[in-house]
């Protein structure tokens, strides 16, 4: 038995007050920052099919494990499909770092495989509608239900202004001048949407953070970017071109057209604001371009040496193009 299996067994035995054996442990997280492992927990009678997410060390956490697990519980209560949480651990004595253990949900998570499954089963519109309903449920959750410690704009600052402040800081750290990115930022500053709401938002809901099966969307994962912000930020991020993984003509994650998402969102009580959606889509596209440039910078400065991080630097051009294309209505027109 590996150290990991022993650690999980020790933890569950203490937590559940009866001897637990860990069997069939499988790692599913090649190359990811955190470890995701699937395993069975056997108590001599019943088998529980579980999944654990482990951060190698507390220093590497993007969000404290108690906040992330709080977000999962809040989401489940709000009616968003998420894996049910069984246990949360901060003590590195068990598996080396903070972790949480939840029910195992079967299905596909790798983006291109998700798209193949969805195309094969003809469930693109179904999945899109399910995403719309999940968003409506999340955005309807009372802000008071948000776990304490969740990131939010400073008092008196709107999500739009908080977003701009965050981008300004990141643009300042770019290794080289990026006029396309600066033009996008300039447009965002000068075209702020009228409306700005503060709700609990997922922050990274896209193909890649979903579990999908033949019956459609089964779970929304990776709540580390959960924060208080504008609901349109969530819908727009899902629709950023990069997250269509090649099925570019289907705006919502490569699954279906935007109206399918909007209709389902509205029918489930969501308030769709087209101006806000467009603004946050420009924002998300710019933000991801800056994010890729930052990955390349982390390789170059030696903090995260990796050929994959280095290659990110040559993908910034895609986001620059997408950003400029989104502003075609504004600046294009006559050649």
């Amino acid at each position: 038995m590996s150290e990991l299996e022993k650690g999980l067994a020790r933890y569950l035995t203490a937590e559940w007050g009866r001897p637990i054996e860990v069997r069939g442990l499988v790692e599913t997280s090649a190359g990811a920052r955190r470890r995701n492992v699937l395993f069975d927990a056997w108590d001599g009678g019943e088998v529980q099919r579980l999944a654990a997410t482990i951060t190698p060390s507390a220093a590497m956490e993007i969000m404290h494990v108690l906040v992330e697990s709080g977000a999962l519980r809040m989401a489940e209560k709000a009616g968003v499909p998420v894996p049910h949480l069984h246990a949360v651990g901060e003590d590195p004595a068990f598996v080396g770092g903070p972790f949480f253990i939840g029910e195992r949900v079967d299905g596909e998570t790798v983006p291109r495989r998700v798209l193949r499954l969805v195309d094969g089963a003809g469930i693109g519109e179904l999945v899109t509608a399910q995403i719309g309903r999940a968003f409506a449920a999340l955005h309807a959750a009372p802000v008071a239900d948000a776990p304490s410690g969740l990131k939010q704009p400073d008092p008196g600052v709107s999500p739009v202004d908080a977003g701009l402040a965050g981008l300004a800081e990141q643009i300042g750290e770019l290794l080289q001048p990026g006029p396309a990115l600066s033009l996008g930022f300039r447009w965002l500053q000068r075209n702020r949407p009228q409306r700005s709401e503060l709700r609990i938002v997922h922050g990274d809901l896209r193909n890649g953070n979903l579990i999908v099966g033949e019956d459609g969307l089964r779970a929304v994962l990776d709540w580390e970017a959960c924060h208080l912000g504008d609901p349109m930020e969530d819908l727009a991020w899902t629709c950023v071109r990069t997250w269509r993984f090649g099925s570019d003509e289907r705006e919502v994650g490569g699954f279906a057209a935007l109206p399918v998402l909007v209709d389902a969102y509205r029918e489930a009580g969501g308030d769709f604001d087209p101006d806000g959606f467009h603004w946050w889509k420009v924002y998300g596209t710019l933000r991801w371009g800056i994010g890729l440039a930052k990955q390349a910078a982390q390789h170059i400065d030696g903090s995260v040496p990796s050929i994959v991080m280095a290659a990110s630097g040559r993908r910034v051009a895609e986001l620059e193009y997408d950003l400029l294309a989104l502003l075609d209505r504004e600046y294009g027109g006559e050649a």
Partner: protein, 134 residues
């Protein structure tokens, strides 16, 4: 002058070696990273072939946006283009309205983005702009 094969030919050779001989012998994370390496080699091959002219076009386009003579901005093409980019960012970060600059900049930057993509990811930008793929 270096002997044949040229830089471009060698890069093409390395890419083909990685794809045809190395990838099939690997699996999992290592196979993925070699695929990334192969893609980078192909980018470098296109850069060797298309890069210099793309840089010259970038220099001309940015000079036109900024209404500057780039010759005085640096000794090499790279230095001139670096300085032009820096100055355009400065102009775009300046307060106040300048719709004309934004429009001129957008056109130039769109053309420059297409040239970058011809090297970094051919086919990503459709030949005919229009449609709503973004």
């Amino acid at each position: 002058m270096q002997d044949r094969p040229t830089a471009s030919e060698l890069l093409e050779t390395i890419a083909r070696f990685l794809d045809d001989e190395l990838l099939t012998a690997l699996e999992g994370g290592l196979q993925y990273r070699v695929r990334v390496a192969s893609n980078l080699v192909k980018i470098l091959e296109r850069e060797a072939r298309l890069g210099p002219e793309a840089l010259d076009r970038e220099c001309a386009r940015l000079s036109e946006v900024l209404r500057l003579d780039a010759a005085a901005l640096g000794a090499t093409a790279e230095q001139r283009v670096q300085e032009l980019n820096r100055r355009l960012v400065e102009r775009l970060q300046a307060p106040g309205e300048d719709a004309e600059l934004e429009r001129r900049a957008w056109r130039a930057l769109m053309a420059i983005a297409r040239d970058k993509l011809a090297i970094a990811r051919p086919g990503y930008a459709p030949a005919d702009p229009g449609g709503n793929e973004a």
